[in-house]
Amino acid sequence: QQQVRQSPQSLTVWEGETAILNCSYENSAFDYFPWYQQFPGEGPALLIAIRSVSDKKEDGRFTIFFNKREKKLSLHITDSQPGDSATYFCAASGLSGGSNYKLTFGKGTLLTVTP
């Protein structure tokens, strides 16, 4: 059973466009949602995260929009740059429940930004 789903599997945008990466989850106990960025040959690194008490989290060109009722969230990357080309993982954790400190990851979205 896949608890965190991501779409699309891959996405190509032109430099300067907004890339939208989608994520959905099934477990209502999840209340913390980090996005990790991974470049080839490296381990994933935390990019931005949101808690379920918020519906939006912004950090520069990266914004998470969160819809708790629909169990959906999305990562928007505005003014996309070639350096943003990477794999993005949506993850989820239930910090307030019994699954503290465990992250469940989606399968990832491969983003390519074309100059």
């Binding site: 040959g41 995260a49 400190y101 992250l103």
Partner: protein, 111 residues
């Protein structure tokens, strides 16, 4: 910033072989994790630990053992390696908050 190192970075073994992957973190983090990453599957948790001598079962533990010898060191053991365990393995650590810091990965090939 968190520092997590893994060794070896690449490993080739044969079916039935014995493999140990090593991970060290120098941040005094309590939590350490082992994941495998496969195309089409993302990151899947194998085992994790919240301190020396502690071991918790992850989501895909079959065929793997792990041991946390110190706060810094976490090992993943494959005692009878199989081709299905060919994968990219990541170690991560966490200080108890939700952010995990990942190592650079070990690519394991089982022939």
């Amino acid at each position: 910033e968190a520092a997590v190192t893994q060794s070896p970075r690449n490993k080739v073994t044969v079916t039935g072989g014995n493999v140990t992957l090593s991970c060290r973190q120098t941040n005094s983090h309590n939590y350490m994790y082992w994941y495998r990453q496969d195309t089409g599957h993302g990151l899947r948790l194998i085992h994790y630990s919240y301190g020396a001598g502690n071991l918790q079962i992850g989501d895909v533990p079959d065929g793997y053992k792990a041991t946390r010898t110190t706060q810094e060191d976490f090992f993943l053991l494959l005692e009878l390696a199989s081709p299905s365990q060919t994968s990219l393995y990541f170690c991560a650590s966490s200080g108890g908050g939700a952010e995990q810091f990942f190592g650079p990965g070990t690519r394991l090939t089982v022939l």
